[in-house]
Each structure stands twice: as structure tokens, then as C-alpha cells.
Amino acid sequence: MSGTELTLGKAINAGLRRAMEDDPKVLVMGEDVGRLGGVFRITDGLYKDFGPDRVIDTPLAESGIIGTAIGLAMRGYRPVCEIQFDGFFFPAADQTFTQLAKLRARSEGRLTLPVVIRIPYGGGIGAVEHHSESPEAYFTHTAGLRVVTVANPEDAYWMIQQAIACDDPVVFLEPKRRYWDKATVHTGGSPAAATPMGAARVARAGTDLTLVAYGPMVKVALQAAEADTEHSIEVVDLRSLSPVDYDTVFESVRRTGRLVVAHEAPVTSGLGAEIAARVTESCFYHLEAPVIRVGGFDTPYPPSRLEEHYLPDLDRILDGVDRSFAF
């Protein structure tokens, strides 16, 4: 297996490139994805090598991006759409929730829409408003979509390829503050042979408490687990947010008896709520404490000078862990 040191951002870039090489129907589209290579350079070099027919700088209109991607998919293409930042997804909400997510069912399976929506998401980069949001719960509540996120370069490289290969629409959330994190990526093999994008991963084994995180929070969760020398904390990296790989989560919780879920998104009606509800229903007699959620506050994302207080950090996670053990 060949291994290369890549940042998470470069790993997505490499995965995109390979998907485009493997299948001439794969297109990349969005604002500034062409000559500029995207504001985070995730599509860097693709325009040069695949040309404007396959790497499309679209007009500044997100509904148009997803709406025309649907049409392209109907014609047999596999569009990978970039939404420039999380906060700019919402103009495309109608095309995504009402058309993209529902068209397969509406057509009784006659229409296959392998559209990927890439969204750099989450906070931590000191950005201005609308550039730091975590909208995953809007997607996980929408039937017909798959939702995944990545926490390391290896997953980034493979899961973007799996998302593109998937015949369902996939929302691919990219933890923007981790774009520059580096690790070895094993580029040998094929997307089909890599860990399926639907599977969760035990990122750190433990016995006393299960800590579920995903995307940008996996790193924080691992740090918290290390920092807690009193307890043996197991960290589960969800990877897929819809559907969630509950087999892995339940197995862990049944062993540890305790669960903390951490995410950047506001707690209320966030994905943590769904996980808490399902785990409680399925592992009721195993739980020694209620599921504790640690997340963003139920406010708009604050100005950047406050984000360190808004984002769950090591201390806030450990506070959640303490609350669990206090039961």
C-alpha cells in the first residue's frame, strides 16, 4: 500500500482528481472552483487538467448550482458541487430538500441522482459571520440524502470518492479547520475496498465512557480522552451522519454504559438529540447515566473573538464527561 503525507484538504483534492480520472462523467461545479481552485484550493489544478467543461465556474447562485446539477445528473453526469461556505447553503435549500432529496422516490427509482454537495463547514478559523456554521441537522432530518463528514486525510481521500460513486445524493461536510491537518494517506486500492463511508470507526478504545464525535470534533474528543487520566474513554468517529452506524455506537455504549456526544452545531434539535434518543431507546438498561450532549449554544454563531467560547473544547467535553459520571 503506497502512503503519502497529505493535508486533509489535499487529500480531498487528490480524491476528486482520481474520481475525475476514473469516470469521465464526474464534473466539479461551484463558485470559483475553476481557475482559482476554490477559496480553500480544494479543486486546485482540476480546471487546468480537466478544462471548463468538467470544472464549471458557476454564476453566483446556489439554487442554480444544485438545480442545474440535478439536470446534469438526469443527463447522466455525476456533479460534485461546492458550496463555498456552510452559511451560503440555504439559498439552495429548496432544490436540495424538495428536489434532489425527493426525486428518486418521486420517480419510483427511475431517476438516479448521484450529486455530491461538498460544504466546508464548522468554525475555528476566525472567520466573519456565515463562515463557521454546522448545518448537519438540517440534512439529517431530510429523507433521501446521505450525510457524511471526515476527520482525517485518509478518510477524506477515500470518502470523497465513495460519495461520488454512490448513486444517492450525498452531502459531504468538510471540517474546514482541519484542512491543514496532515497525515499519511494510503492511496493504493480502490474506493470499494476502503472502509465503507457508512461505517463508524472506533478512533480510540476505552471501557468507561463512549464519546461520540465527528468531523472537526474528533480531534478535540481524542485530546479530551487523553487528558482524562481518571477514566478510560472510548472515542467513536461517526463518519456517516445519515444513516448513523448504530451497530458500532450501541456496541460501544453497551460496554461502557455512558455516552457523551459532542458537536459544534447548536445543541437543540442537533444530531446529538437524535443519537441520544436512539441510544436511550436501544440501550436503556445499559445506561448508567443519561446521554450528555456537548455542543454549540442555541444562538447564532458568534463573532470570531468569541468562537473559542462557543465551540466545545476539551474542557467543555470533560465537563460533559464529569456530568455523566456524576449520575
Binding site: 464534473l27 467543461d53 468538467r54 464549471i56 458557476t58 454564476p59 447562485a61 439554487s63 442554480g64 438545480g67 442545474t68 446539477a69 440535478i70 439536470g71 446534469l72 445528473a73 438526469m74 443527463r75 447522466g76 453526469y77 439559498p91 429548496d94 432544490q95 424538495t98 428536489q99 425527493k102 426525486l103 428518486r104 422516490a105 418521486r106 420517480s107 419510483e108 427509482g109 427511475r110 431517476l111 438516479t112 429523507a143 433521501g144 446521505r146 454512490c166 448513486d167 444517492d168 457508512g198 445519515s242 444513516p243 448513523v244 452506524d245 448504530y246 451497530d247
Partner: protein, 370 residues
């Protein structure tokens, strides 16, 4: 300064007057051979009949809803008959006439309005996309599809063109304007066919737009024109021309078919609350079918036998519509889970299994009650 606030009545492409006189147009050649015109007449009469039967079926509780095309037959048959088999059409929800031209059966059309499906037919079989209810959405799908046609290199004299249908109300929607712009910037082979039937439910077109709709196109950098939407010859000729331009790589066109919604918005609507009956009266004099009949008679292209034959065919179709509608099978409860995803989905597959068990539990207890 370009000032277009004045609402002078713009030019209207017309080939067939309300009295049934054919007036050739220099830009839009049309050859009204007897066969051709008789075929169009038959189309018009049959779709009107299909439509009337559907309205009646809704009244009888056999359909949940129906959106009648009454008055818009010429716009739909004219544009529909301009399509080549390889062309792709993206309708809204009222294009029964276009569906007819694309070979979508009345059975498939009724299925959606009966509530046995949210779709109804195979879009690829007919090159006719599913009905789209959310106003304006399909204009972007059409534009994207047309961008795909470009990428397939499927342009040229025998290439593929795309057409999308929408109403006057839809021109207010952001999506429709984004579609105009994406199509223009990409020079996509798509024809925007707007049936301006002058009403969006209760709102007259003055509440939707201040300028004549066809002029919107110029603002986005592509041609627009207004055609008499009750003139099947003109609708066919201008649509054929626009499709050919698209096919040959000359980009989008906006056609505003100026017509009138002679009935209610849908069977749920009561137009007496918001519009004067004289208006409908006036438009009845411009009926799209009457003028074709006048033309056929005036030119001696059809006799009483022909008209009786079409009427008999319409009778038969009506009967068929009634029978087929009632025979549409109800879906099974587990169809709720059908084709939500293309690939296995752990969570939904489990939910489906649980619901199957739940349903089965009643079978034990109450027999066939469920």
C-alpha cells in the same frame, strides 16, 4: 436610459386569426397541409376531452385534484408537436397537452392526481420529465440537462434541444431567473416556454410583473418573443424555430405564449372570488380549437364526417379515461419506503422491516382489516 415602464401592447406572433384565417409570417414558416392541420385539430379536441373528464372525475371523488389546461390547448399542442423525439421536456403540472404529444398516457397522468404516486411515468421513456409542483424548480433542471447535452456534444442540425414549461407566476420566482441566467451564460440549448395564462391562482399578471414577460429575456442576453398562445400554428412555428436554434448551438430563447386560463386554477379553486366572468367570455371568442375548425372548414380541408369522427374518438377516450382512472391500483403500505435510496440504507431498511412487522401484527389480530 432604457425606459420600458410604458405598457404598450407588444407585438404578438400570430399565424391563425381567431376567425380561422391563415396569415403567413415572414420569420416563421408553416405549412398548413390538410393532414397536418387535421392532426392538430384532433390533438386539441382529444386533450380537451381528457381534461374535461379529469375535472369530472375529481368532482366524483376519483381524483384528489386536477389542474385543467382549458384554454391552453394550442400553446401545449403547438409546442409539443414541435419537439423531436430526442428532445427533452420539463413541464410544470398543467402540461397535459405536451404529455399527450410525448406519449404519456392518461392513465399515468391521472395516477399522480389520484394520489397513487407522486410521479407517474418514466421520464426517459417519453423524454418528458415528471410534473413539478414547486414553482420554477424545473427550469433549473432543464438548464442543467441542456448543459449536459452540450457536454455530450449532442448539438447540430439533428441535435437535442430541451424545453421547459412554466407559468406567468413562475417568472417571479428566483429559480426561474437563475435558470435564465445560467442558460444565457452557458449558451445552453434550452427553450423557456412560458404560458402566460394571465393568472397565478387569484393574482393577475400585473401582480407578477410590470413588463411584458418576453422582454425578461433581453435583460439576460437572449431573445424573447410573444406568440398568440391560442394559435396552434404560431405556437408550433415559433417553438420549432427556437428549438432548432437551441439544437444548433445558438442558445436559449424565451417564448411567452399569451393565452388564458379559461377554467379554475385547479379543481380546488373558485375563480368567481377574484375575476369577472366577462373576462372569460371575451377569451372564449379566441378559443384555440374553434379557430382551427374554422380554418379547416374555410379551406375545405375537413368535412362533417371528419369532425364527427374526432368527436367519436373523444367519446371513446372519455370512456377510457373514466374506466382506467377507477382501475388504478392503490399502492401498498410498504411502498412508502420504495426507492427513497438507490443503495441499501441501514436505518430505513430497519424502519421498513419494523413497519412490516407492525402491519403483520394486525393481520393476525383482525384478519384482513388492514
Amino acid at each position: 436610459m432604457s425606459d420600458s415602464t410604458a405598457r404598450e401592447e407588444p407585438e404578438l406572433v400570430q399565424l391563425l386569426t381567431p376567425d380561422g384565417e391563415y396569415v403567413p409570417h415572414p420569420d416563421y414558416p408553416f405549412d398548413p397541409t390538410p393532414d397536418h392541420v387535421r392532426g392538430l385539430y384532433r390533438d386539441l379536441v382529444l386533450v380537451r376531452r381528457l381534461d374535461a373528464e379529469a375535472v369530472a372525475l375529481q368532482r366524483q371523488g376519483e381524483l384528489g385534484l386536477w389542474a385543467s389546461l382549458l384554454g391552453q390547448e394550442a400553446a401545449q399542442i403547438g409546442s409539443g408537436r414541435a419537439l423531436q423525439p430526442q428532445d427533452m421536456a420539463f413541464p410544470s403540472y398543467r402540461e397535459h397537452g405536451v404529455a399527450w404529444c410525448r406519449g404519456v398516457t392518461h392513465r399515468d397522468l391521472l395516477a399522480m392526481f389520484r394520489g397513487v404516486t407522486n410521479g407517474g411515468w418514466d421520464p426517459y421513456e417519453h423524454n418528458f420529465h415528471l410534473y413539478t409542483i414547486v414553482i420554477g424548480s424545473q427550469t433549473l433542471h432543464a438548464t442543467g440537462y441542456a448543459m449536459g447535452v452540450q457536454r455530450d456534444g449532442a448539438l447540430g442540425p439533428d441535435g437535442t434541444a430541451v424545453i421547459t414549461y412554466f407559468g406567468d407566476g413562475a417568472t417571479s420566482q428566483g429559480d426561474t431567473n437563475e435558470a435564465f441566467n445560467y442558460a444565457a451564460v452557458n449558451n445552453a440549448p434550452v427553450v423557456f416556454f412560458c404560458q402566460n395564462n394571465q393568472w397565478a391562482i387569484s393574482e393577475p399578471s400585473e401582480r407578477q410583473t410590470r413588463a411584458p414577460i418576453y422582454r425578461r429575456a433581453a435583460g439576460f442576453g437572449f431573445p424573447g418573443l410573444r406568440v398568440d398562445g391560442n394559435d396552434v400554428f404560431a405556437c408550433l412555428a415559433v417553438t420549432r424555430d427556437a428549438l432548432q436554434r437551441a439544437r444548433e448551438g445558438q442558445g436559449p430563447t424565451l417564448i411567452e405564449a399569451f393565452t388564458y386560463r379559461m377554467g379554475a386554477h385547479t379543481t380546488s379553486d373558485d375563480p368567481t372570488r377574484y375575476r369577472a366572468s366577462e373576462e372569460a367570455e371575451e377569451w372564449r371568442r379566441k378559443d384555440p380549437i374553434a379557430r382551427v375548425r374554422s380554418y379547416l372548414v374555410r379551406e375545405g380541408m375537413a368535412d362533417d364526417d371528419f369532425f364527427a369522427g374526432v368527436d367519436a374518438e373523444a367519446e371513446k377516450l372519455g370512456e377510457q379515461v373514466r374506466t382506467d382512472c377507477r382501475a388504478l391500483p392503490d399502492p401498498a403500505p410498504l411502498d412508502i419506503f420504495r426507492e427513497v435510496y438507490a443503495e441499501p440504507h441501514s436505518h430505513l431498511d430497519q424502519q421498513r422491516a419494523e413497519f412490516a412487522d407492525y402491519l403483520a401484527s394486525f393481520e393476525g389480530a383482525e384478519g384482513a382489516a388492514r
